[in-house]
């Protein structure tokens, strides 16, 4: 067992603005720490780290460890893993919660390899079971949910999917502690020479509360515009099936499913998507699923909360209009 009952959160942030999942984790960290008699803390690294502290504190972290070192900018995996591992070694938290996002997964992997921490992945809930901090994760294509913990005298890392937990303002003013130890020369192994933002490439699907997804039934790249309009009206983002991605109608970061992203929005609207198992495994834990498909026998209707047997081109523009109208009314 670690020396403390402290629960930490690894904060993912965008130039000082914490991602929503970081706040979800901060709230959970406080709940767990309170129950175990430890304290909840967060670690924010890179330029903007200090600016995170207020919000992360408000959502539950009592202490925020920060380093503004340029070498810890968001894309630097190995230096962040090293600084984090050193800090964990020094302070001995019992559990560190990480967002299950690509960068944080890499950082957790490398930090755990350095200090021999046990990693639980794909978590959709974290709780206390018989005094142990336990993670629940779907397995076997989502057919079962397994609850597990880390055994032995090692720190426990849990990678939690965005949108799985509820962020709440349960905290206050966090104490900000500057991290003394810095980046070591031998962890500067890869160099970021450019950060390119591509127009239209933005696809933060994992964090999205609403996703409007299109499949082969959308028929072509220009028709995705119709889905974009609906997504915009709902404040959501556009996703896609593999068939639409492979046809080149939309870029791969939009793909939902086994070989794309696993998403967990409040609302998933599947347009012209048949609902193949490889698509389903990526979106079945959405809170509400609506499907629009012109084939009444499409498998998607077997697990959608509301199914519309109809033509995407008929239904979607009207729906966009209907929602616009209702928003104006309120």
């Amino acid at each position: 067992m670690s020396a403390t009952n402290d629960i930490w959160v690894f904060v993912e942030h965008e130039k000082g603005e914490p991602k929503k999942v970081s706040l979800e984790l901060a709230t959970k960290a406080k709940e767990l720490a309170d129950a175990l008699g430890g304290s909840a803390a967060a670690v924010a690294l890179g330029p903007g780290a200090g600016a995170c502290a207020k919000k992360v504190g408000l959502y539950g972290a009592g202490t925020v460890f920060v380093s503004e070192d340029e070498q810890l900018a968001s894309y630097s995996i190995t230096p962040q893993a090293q600084v984090l591992a050193d800090l964990i070694g020094e302070r001995q938290p019992r559990v560190v919660l990480f967002p299950a996002t690509p960068a944080a997964k890499d950082i957790a992997a490398q930090a755990s390899a350095r200090i021999g921490a046990g990693v639980l992945t794909n978590s959709i809930d974290v709780s206390i079971k018989d005094g142990a901090v336990a993670s629940t994760a779907p397995a076997f294509g989502g057919s079962i949910e397994v609850t597990s913990t880390v055994a032995g005298d090692v720190p426990q890392f849990i990678l939690v999917r965005p949108n799985a937990l509820l962020p709440q303002q349960v905290g206050g003013d966090a104490q900000v502690v500057a991290i003394g130890a810095g980046v070591k020369e031998d962890s500067l192994l890869a160099k970021v020479v450019d950060v390119v933002v591509e127009a239209g490439a933005e696809a933060p699907l994992e964090e999205a509360a609403i996703i409007v997804s299109g499949g082969r039934g959308v028929g072509g790249p220009e028709n995705f515009k119709v889905l974009e309009d609906l997504a915009k009206e709902l404040g959501g983002v556009v996703g896609a099936s593999r068939a639409a991605v492979d046809a080149g109608w939309i870029s791969y970061p939009h793909q939902v499913g086994q070989t794309g992203k696993t998403v967990k929005p409040n609302l998933y609207i599947a347009c012209g998507i048949s609902g193949a198992i490889q698509h389903k495994v990526g979106m079945q834990t959405s809170k509400v699923i609506v499907a629009i498909n012109k084939n009444g026998d499409a498998p998607i209707f077997e697990f959608a909360d509301l199914g519309i047997v109809g033509d995407v081109f008929e239904v979607v523009p009207k729906l966009t209009e209907e929602i616009r109208k209702r928003k104006q009314m309120t």
């Binding site: 992997a109 949910e145 160099k191 933002v197 086994q258 509400v288 047997v309």
Partner: protein, 258 residues
């Protein structure tokens, strides 16, 4: 250039899955395939070799049956094949798997080690980053474009906004995303070759890794229990008679999505 590509054999998702008495996946009953992401890694390895010369070695950690996955890589054009297999490896977690891979890599001196970005069964996306950490080599992950020189590589790391351009010196660890290339199909010649090619099977002793560090002995996860997931039910299905938009909007209001 020496290239090693790491691949995992995984159950085919489309196959019907049976759970055994312990509520674990009955792996024996399931059709197995190469982890789909690893096919992109294999293709990238072959392309690299075609540009730079050298050899491509496929490396897998798994039971005897994983030979079949390795053989498919040979059929695609990989020349050398290694399977790390040992009873003590059963039940390895991602760190155990990474240790076995690192042990095997120490016997093969690779300039670039290629991985898929994740396996579709464990879906942990942990092994490549752990291998890089254990080797203290640069990690180039989620790569959508790879350019290798003699002593360095430049890649695009796919992000939610576009991509980062990253350079590192070789040797390096690279994981690739789907879409970096279009994996080739095995040729007839390749399939014949795969039948003849000998697959080297290495035990833990062969790679100098102790049984305590891998398998169940080295794994830290302890399962406390499991329940069947709540299966989603079919909801209301409505045929559009021109009013579907209002039906959906009402439903979104009722389910607090609007």
């Amino acid at each position: 250039m020496n290239i090693v590509v790491c691949l995992k054999q995984v159950p085919d998702t489309t196959a019907e899955k049976k759970l055994n008495a312990e509520f674990r996946l009955d792996r024996a009953s399931v059709e197995k395939i190469i982890n789909p992401f690893d096919e992109y890694a294999i293709e990238e390895a072959l392309k690299l070799k075609e540009q730079k010369g050298g050899t491509v070695t496929a490396l897998s950690v798994g039971p005897e049956s994983a030979k079949e996955a390795v053989r498919k890589a040979v059929a695609m054009g990989v020349e050398k094949a290694v399977l790390v297999s040992d009873d003590a490896l059963a039940g390895s977690d991602s760190l155990g798997t990474a240790r076995a891979i690192v042990g095997a890599l120490k016997k093969t001196s690779a300039d670039i080690v290629l991985f898929g970005m994740a396996s579709t069964d464990a879906a942990s996306a942990q092994v490549p980053a752990k291998v890089a950490a254990l080797l203290n080599q640069p990690l180039l992950s989620y790569v959508s474009k790879l350019e290798a020189g003699e002593s360095s590589a430049t890649v695009r790391r796919q992000t939610d906004k576009g991509y980062d351009v990253i350079t590192a010196s070789l040797p390096a660890v690279v994981s690739v995303v789907k879409g970096i290339n279009e994996p080739r199909y095995p040729s007839l010649k390749g399939i014949m070759q795969a039948k003849r090619t000998q697959i080297d099977v290495w035990s833990l002793a062969d790679i100098g890794v102790s049984a305590a560090e891998v398998g169940k002995a080295g794994a830290t996860e302890k399962v406390l229990g499991f329940v069947p997931a709540k299966a989603r039910q079919a909801g209301k299905v409505v045929k559009d008679d021109g009013t579907a938009a209002a039906v959906v909007a009402d439903f979104l209001v009722a389910s607090k999505c609007l």
